[in-house]
Symmetry: C3
Subunit: 319 residues, 3 copies
């Protein structure tokens, strides 16, 4: 079965997931992002690459932060941006997802940035556009259910590459609720595709089940053991709804066992970097001393996230 996000020339047509994306496509995005990093530093932070293009932020699930990053990225590319919070509108009038898409497509949309609580929604939309031969419209997955969050994965790779250059010798640890995390899933696929030799996942057995080994990662339930000599630590956000659930006794208990403190950070390599997709729960998955410490690159992730989204959008618009 062909990969729906690549066209027949192997070019990126939609960005739905990092899974199955060839290394050279990933590298092309990261290289393009490098050129955009400097634009955000300029006096006039705009390039005309998407002037006159209509980008629709279709957020079926509320996420001001992610929507903002895409909105800024699109505006810095000079696109026209339309924000649609779909909960409050067509969906409530009973219109189907694909009818909504057909309608917006008929308005000559150029790009849909889609956030959806259900895994696979952006695939459904992309497949529908392919089936209806609307090849000029591109879909970017901005997070779908537990499935994927590819631009987060890409910005994480950009950040790691920026600080560590050579990815072929790294050990990376992902800590926390890996089971429910689309960020973790996207990161693991990206790290593997880019040739990172050792990827570890660390967490309680309820959140890091043995089946994760199928993704090619080493599983650790002991934080101290898992952090030993790693180059990169990616902390995951503990979702509020997990904290008092059956999978976890409490936030305090989680912090005691898996919270990243300065003591634990010392187990990693001395130049290890600490990442977090945000928003952080200080005192739950990460101690403030670490979050604000010299090894944290969390705000760099945010900065590079804009450049990566500009890269993805401009590559799609150009293909």
């Amino acid at each position: 079965m062909p990969n729906p996000q690549l066209n027949q020339h192997g070019e990126l047509q939609h960005l739905l997931t990092i899974e199955g994306l060839p290394r050279d496509v990933l590298t092309h995005i990261l290289d393009t992002a490098s050129s955009f990093v400097s634009i955000s530093d300029r006096e006039v932070k705009k390039v005309p690459l998407m002037r006159g293009k209509s980008v629709f932020n279709l957020f079926f699930e509320n996420s001001t932060r992610t929507r903002t990053t895409f909105e800024i990225a699109a505006k810095r590319l000079s696109a026209d941006v339309i924000n649609l919070n779909i909960d409050a509108s067509s969906a409530s009038k009973g219109e189907s997802l694909l009818d909504t898409i057909d309608n917006l497509a008929a308005m000559h949309a150029d790009m849909f940035v889609v956030r959806h609580a259900e895994s696979g929604a952006p695939f459904l939309i992309a497949q529908h556009l392919i089936d209806t031969r609307q090849h000029h419209i591109h879909v970017v997955n901005a997070g779908d259910g537990r499935h994927a969050h590819p631009t987060q994965g890409l910005l994480d790779m950009f950040t790691i590459r920026h600080y560590k250059q050579d990815l072929s010798r790294l050990t990376v640890a992902i800590v926390g609720d890996v089971l429910h995390s689309r960020v973790a899933r996207s990161d693991i696929h990206a790290l593997k595709a880019l040739g990172v030799p050792e990827v570890r996942v660390i967490g309680p057995r309820t959140l890091v089940p043995p089946s994760l080994a199928d993704l090619g990662v080493q599983i650790y339930t002991d934080m101290a053991e898992g952090l030993k000599n790693v180059d990169v630590i990616i902390m995951l956000r503990l979702q509020n709804e997990r904290m008092s659930g059956t999978l976890l006794p409490s936030a305090q208990e989680f912090f005691k066992n898996y919270g990243l403190t300065m003591e634990r950070l010392a187990l990693a390599k001395p130049d290890a970097i600490v990442m977090h997709p945000g928003p952080m729960n200080r005192g739950v998955e990460i101690d403030s001393a670490v979050a604000d410490g010299s090894q944290a690159v969390i705000l760099s992730q945010v900065t590079y996230g804009i450049a990566v989204r500009m890269a993805v959008m401009s590559i799609l618009a150009g293909n």
Copy 2:
């Protein structure tokens, strides 16, 4: 009494309703829209006709879809667009509608796109602007109560003209809840003004009362009879709140009697087109086979809707 939407030279000053608009004004809008259709196909979908103009989308009633069409149209004309959902703001602070308008006018607004649950609200605003001699500010009615939805009427006319060219020999059927539909009202006025000889309305007697005949239409309560030999079928959306009310037994019952199926469509002329203002209730007023069939021009309506709104806005801004 003079028509408040035309100035003393007979030029369009506000677009409030199609009722009473001279045929040449309607034709001028449709002709202007033709020139905008191609803009949306271009690589750079923007023209500078409204650069530096401030367009306020004043939505006192939520409608993401309609708001989006006006927002895109204004942005493609290079206007600055400000979206105001008035429910959540001044209205709740007890400010009067006209005080809100005076305030926004004082910010040097150029255009108000007004959606309101109460019939006549856009008239009230336009009349106030005339009374206070603010002739540089224009009002577009984006749907007021059960009264009018003139841009929907215009885009329907554009669509019919596109597919049928000569309007002077057509038979057009409007099907469904005509009684409560501002779309139906706007369509009937437009069809009459443009010289369509036969306009039929079809529906149960509770939704298509005999008094509608005053508008110059033929009334049918039998779907099969009403569809016979028509060139154009305009299906109306059945509002959810009607479906279980006293006017209609149920959605299923409505579909049985008035839903547009392939069988019923076959009663119309072989080249008849099927229109719907959206969002569709598939299986209530229209069968999916028809909605997705070759005679449906529903998505063309959406496309032409952008061009028509660009035409209306640019004509108003130029007058």
Copy 3:
């Protein structure tokens, strides 16, 4: 302690409060605003002074009206504007205010327009930006708790200066709930700084306590006495939540004692102007005959408010 809103050269770095701002800084803003008044009258109401700059409207408290004025001002300066209603997003995910700020700063924000229900929030943000040496990012206070609303104070000064020219001989009365009003506080500081010799506050003792005299104002509990021979009357909005509280018997009672009627207005100088920050409660603090009368300059305040905000933003962006 240095004033955090001025940099070491005494230039405006943030606009947090009028308190402590030197007269020449205030005058510079008002003079700059004068040059922007004419821009809003032009055919193309845009200047490229902030092209490519990213302005974030951070509204932790809903205020469509104030947000709109800043959004228009920023767009007329050609900035990219991102509206963030923070209630519904990060705040609900438990992220701290300063983590949110750090994140947006990492997206290369240029300006934060901050509205917050808690007094001091914009100070906290500005101080944090100073502490983290992010001197290229500027904060504008768009209203914080009961504390300050400096752009309202400035636009009021602009309006008074426009109508009265010489401020050094004026008597200005501020009427209503001075105790809870950030507008009153900003106005009093501005009037004092600009050399207005006599500032009166008028209201019931519960809303105009004797301690206000510390601000250098004369206190009147009798409306007739307080209005005698004043040049300017600034009516305050009576907040809905006060009307049936313990501080006030009722809205009717308030109007009887402190509502501005034509009869009371006659006690002021014949050429006295009447101001109100909006939205007005007609029949509570102001009679419609006065609000719509020839001495009211309430809509001019709105118009000048856009110019003043353009001035503040462009001055900050240039410093």
